[in-house]
Point group: C2
Chain length 194, copies 2
């Protein structure tokens, strides 16, 4: 038997979202709020397109967008394709390295919702030095998403590995996307009971 | 800018390893030890081929191999491509579903070493109902690998989600591969400090 490969590919509308925020003209996303604005815009467009309500981006320390990510669980047919995983993996493809800090540049992951257990566990191996979150774990769980078995002190766990964490950036805007998704009756696909 | 895609593809020698254990003739891997034998054989071949010392497989409840996985961090250029992630994602491609339990079949992940924080976090979303491990977290850490910030009671966390865990199957054989890797001076690539 020959085994299939897995390809994670961003949908074509990604570029429209980036264009709408001016991100395709080499602009820098200087503040956390500007960076989160793009992650939230990606999550909102994903919902409009029938996808999951999550967006994430990797930026370098000068605010240049390295790679965006959206939840591809349904289109790619795999539970590993959460927005953060996609952003991290594609940023690594852009840079040609499995370590986003290998060249000494401090990159960061900006995600529209606090990471679930899987994406939390992916952060230390990715090489990012900072994680910025919008909607909270409670916001995600309030609409039925399961964030999974994260360590209770997950922020401390990252910080003691030298990875800074900032929470609640544009939380209201990020949570509004989750609420919109719930209102539309979007499936809570990543809490499968098998 | 157009963003690259990520493709996870098994190396061609995967089929040789499966052939060597007779797994290409529709055999069933009935016992945990037979299943682990394949995962360990994959980890050993990976080391011989210059890769990381980890192998994993997804089996269905009758012992049919759904998909194998090896660590592809270096060849695929991404930190998300641990052996367990590859096996889960490719099994989902084989079955055409992001949920390995969607059809009611109880599938399981058999991994040559206990999962790190990332792969642990991936398990609840994958749809597997059982995880079987060979070498221990301590074995991996003894040669310098960092298993990351897993919850202290990670086994309980899986079990209370209905996912059975069995540890230490062919531990000596699995650990021998880790030791061989260390003796050869293999890089401890997933503990990058960025």
């Amino acid at each position: 038997m020959t085994y299939p490969s897995l390809t994670l590919q961003l949908p074509p509308w990604i570029h429209e979202v980036i264009h709408e925020v001016g991100g395709d003209i080499q602009r820098s996303f200087v503040t956390d709020e500007e960076r989160m604005g793009l992650a939230v815009a990606l999550s909102a467009r994903s919902v409009e397109e029938g996808g999951g309500p999550f967006g994430a981006c990797v930026f370098d320390d000068s605010g240049h967008l390295v790679a965006p990510g959206v939840n591809l669980v349904v289109p790619a047919g795999t539970s590993i394709a959460h927005a953060e995983m996609v952003a991290l993996a594609l940023a690594q493809q852009v840079l040609g390295s499995f370590d986003l800090g290998a060249d000494g540049v401090a990159r960061q992951l900006v995600t529209s919702t606090e990471p679930c257990a899987q994406c939390f566990g992916a952060v230390p191996w990715s090489g990012v030095r900072r994680v910025v979150c919008g909607a909270t774990t409670e916001d995600a769980e309030a609409i039925g998403f399961d964030e999974g078995p994260k360590p209770e002190r997950w922020i401390d766990e990252l910080q003691r590995r030298g990875i800074e964490v900032r929470l609640g950036v544009l939380r209201a805007e990020a949570n509004a996307v989750l609420q919109d998704y719930a209102t539309r009756g979007g499936p809570i696909y990543n809490a499968q009971t098998g």
